[in-house]
Symmetry: C2
Subunit: 341 residues, 2 copies
């Protein structure tokens, strides 16, 4: 026979004291004999008593909960973010409420109202892309909010974004260091901020080396393997003079790798390849496995949650407004540079 | 200047009534004049008052929250499950707490204790595989629990599992219906329950058609593209006499498809292929795109959450103990059967 949750009354009865005494002993308050304190603690432990966190939250005006509002259908980006957020919040004994992701502002507002009614201590807002979005509507009240892999337009809110420009730069520098001189760039749709920023960083690296990106060797298209495949055909219309391709995503890079192999070009001997995302399932399965840029989403989520914890603790002034989280170069075999490491 | 959350006191002050009156009017209790009721509601609305859900929860002994305990690092399986769980809970205005996934029983117990302290109305326990696991430790108390894509050993708990045997059967039947007669099976490690169940269903379909699985054509190995690639070499040691391969995962099927193409065998003309998982990123990008079995994890999650809602509502007796959620055949181009649909 299962029993209902153990209450403070059960502990008081077992220890032969009042519930006020139990409450004070467990909260390290009041003055009691050592014997009473031990008896209360032992009773609570043997009954496996759990203090009612709801009652504590009402009392402390803190719920030890955080709401996660997402526009990404639990997809590629929110996963590692969530993992990082949990890594930061778990040691602080904070729990995360997740809401059904939605692009509909009416639904989003309803979710936020429901989180506010649950008296969450703060919000993390995330998205499937880093482009600007309207800020969340807090009905005029104050509440710590951090945007992670998302940025609000016309707002002073704290946001943590991947350093996509730095990522593009890393890719360019790596290829140039390996002695490649004719660099192409096959990437995603230009209306993505990330596409423009990655290209910008890549061109900066070329410029620093006294080079520039040949317009014939810059191709923008959909975020897909099929596009990578097709882009190789387009690049080859100008002859196989390029010796490296920086791809805007691992999926594009995988299509590029397959198409090069089918046309008899060897990776990395003839053409070095750099991907973007370090999406294991794609990057590690490509032949050869992809050297790629990792936007470090897990540590980005961790940093966002740490900022939120600081804000909840009242240290908002110490938190910078816009944080660019650095990317990391992950060397596999598609550039042939692994022997140098 | 941001203001703190609006309280019931603010509403009472604005409407010129007591907080007791506000509480009763908003909960449709007590007897008041139409004029008072309208004034209270208008004050609440204009101040965008949110009742304190914590206080309501304490009062109603229900928190309208559910905890999700996972052993899958927010991976491939828990994502669509979470999506389905949200689909079922959102209309019931229930929110989901997620915990950092862990395989460590001590951490898991700490998470469950913390969820119990938050007085969640129920728990959903999920995993990265369907094999039996120890039941969660509820410290002897009663609480509605549903296992989704997970099953507890030696327990009468409710669990919702994919019908992997039915999935294997679907794959076999589809290939036989298309006139294939020499069927091979390349799958994952045999210590996975799912591997054994899929094979069982596949063999049942063969048996019904008066055939059996040739032991030379059954290959078990890791869950990877590389294994699919390697398995083709092993199958061909016995000559290219097979005309169809049922693969235990889309990743294995993708490796198989690449290896067949590289050896000059055409899919589907020479060899028809069926995958498993309907993992879009793999299945749709394979050349040709994979016909595959979809375990329908999203609706599985939805069904698990619906069972939990019924249990929370006190209708536990109406909920079956073990639910096998059906799989679905998704026809793309790797079997050549799409013209028949």
């Amino acid at each position: 026979m299962l029993k209902a949750a153990v209450t403070i009354h059960d502990v008081a009865k077992a220890a032969g004291v009042s519930i006020g005494t139990v409450s004070k002993v467990l909260n390290n308050q009041g003055r009691f004999t050592e014997e009473t304190r031990i008896r209360v603690r032992q009773s609570a432990e043997s009954l496996r008593f759990q203090p009612n966190a709801l009652a504590q939250s009402l009392h402390q005006k803190r719920s030890y909960t955080v709401g996660l509002v997402s526009r990404d259908s639990f997809g590629r980006f929110s996963l590692p973010l969530l993992e990082g957020i949990e890594n930061a919040l778990d040691p602080a004994r904070m729990a995360v409420f997740v809401c059904k992701p939605t692009d509909d502002p009416v639904h989003e507002r309803r979710h936020i109202e429901s989180l506010m009614a649950k008296r969450v201590d703060g919000l993390i807002v995330t998205s499937r892309r880093t482009d600007k979005r309207p800020p969340v509507d807090l009905a005029g009240t104050s509440m710590p909010v951090v945007y992670a892999y998302a940025q609000p337009e016309g707002s002073e809110a704290v946001c943590v974004l991947p350093d996509d420009r730095g990522g593009g730069q890393l890719a360019g520098q790596h290829l140039l260091c390996l002695g490649r001189t004719a660099l192409a760039h096959v990437t995603g749709p230009e209306h993505f901020t990330a596409v423009r920023e990655r290209r910008q960083g890549f061109e900066e690296a070329l410029r620093e080396a006294g080079r520039s990106l040949d317009p014939d060797w810059y191709l923008s298209g959909p975020w897909s393997e099929a596009w990578g495949h097709e882009a190789v055909g387009r690049l080859l219309e100008h002859g196989p003079r390029f010796d490296a391709i920086f791809c805007g995503s691992d999926q594009i890079a995988r299509g590029v790798a397959d198409a090069l192999r089918e046309r008899g070009l060897r990776v990395p001997e003839d053409v070095a390849l750099v991907g973007y995302d370090n999406w294991d399932i794609i990057a590690a399965a490509t032949r050869p496995p992809l050297t790629t840029i990792d936007p470090c989403l897990e540590t980005l989520g961790q940093q966002a949650a740490s900022c939120l914890l600081a804000m909840i603790a009242g240290a908002e002034a110490t938190v910078p407004r816009v944080i660019r989280h650095p990317c990391r170069l992950v060397v596999r075999q598609s550039c042939g540079g692994e022997a140098l490491l």
